[in-house]
């Protein structure tokens, strides 16, 4: 079963707007990571947040983690057409050493 589940499944916004997507998971985690995938390509790591962290920033990305609710959010500010991609959260469970569970992803389309 999938550990991480993203919401919404799809998001369509205009350039300059913010994009927010959420991830929920089920078990205790070591860390949570977000990845981006451009169409037909491999995944690219965006940001990692550890279980003892609540918020992290990287450029236009902001990630929050609420371990009490077992959820995370990824915010992309001032979106650009180049941000068009699928975004996946991946959770490293403490119950399953070294394994990550990926969700089905959020497909983001940014129109100029």
């Amino acid at each position: 079963s999938q550990q991480g589940e993203e919401d919404p499944q799809a998001l369509s916004i205009q350039e300059g707007e913010n994009a927010t997507m959420n991830c929920s998971y089920k078990t205790s985690i070591n860390n949570l990571q977000w990845y981006r995938q451009n169409s037909g390509r491999g995944l690219v790591h965006l940001i990692l947040i550890r279980s003892n962290e609540r918020e992290k920033h990287s450029g236009r990305l902001r990630v929050t983690l609420d371990t009490s609710k077992k959820s995370s959010s990824l915010l992309i500010t001032a979106s650009r057409a180049a941000d068009t991609a699928s975004y996946f959260c991946a959770t490293g469970s403490t119950d399953s050493w070294g394994k990550f569970q990926f969700g089905a992803g959020t497909q983001v389309v940014v129109t100029p």
Partner: protein, 112 residues
């Protein structure tokens, strides 16, 4: 620049054929992973390896086997390909468990 390469971008095979998918990383990473990606299901872990000659089953190992004879190379083997193994196959590596994973470009396998 770190790199994970996969032997083929596109592959077409017939039912019953033995299929080898090769993955090579140049980062001296201990951990390597094979995933398959299907629409709406996200990435699902097939097998992973945390050391040479070591392997662990992921969530969907049935119908697959793996080989890791050298640290930089991790092979996925479909002993007798079936149509339900038509998918995108992604290889990844990481330096330590729970660290960020570096992905290859993927192999889109079609089994006829």
């Amino acid at each position: 620049d770190v790199k994970v390469t996969q032997s083929s971008r596109y592959l077409v095979k017939r039912t019953g054929e033995k299929v080898f998918l090769e993955c090579v990383q140049d980062m001296d990473h201990e951990n390597m992973f094979w995933y398959r990606q299907d629409p709406g299901l996200g990435l699902r872990l097939i097998y992973f390896s945390y050391d040479v000659k070591m392997k662990e089953k992921g969530d969907i190992p049935e119908g697959y086997s793996v080989s890791r004879e050298k640290k930089e190379r991790f092979s996925l083997i479909l002993e007798s390909a079936s149509t339900n193994q038509t998918s995108m196959y992604l290889c990844a590596s990481s330096s330590r468990p729970y660290n960020e994973q570096f992905f290859g470009p993927g192999t889109r396998l079609t089994v006829l």
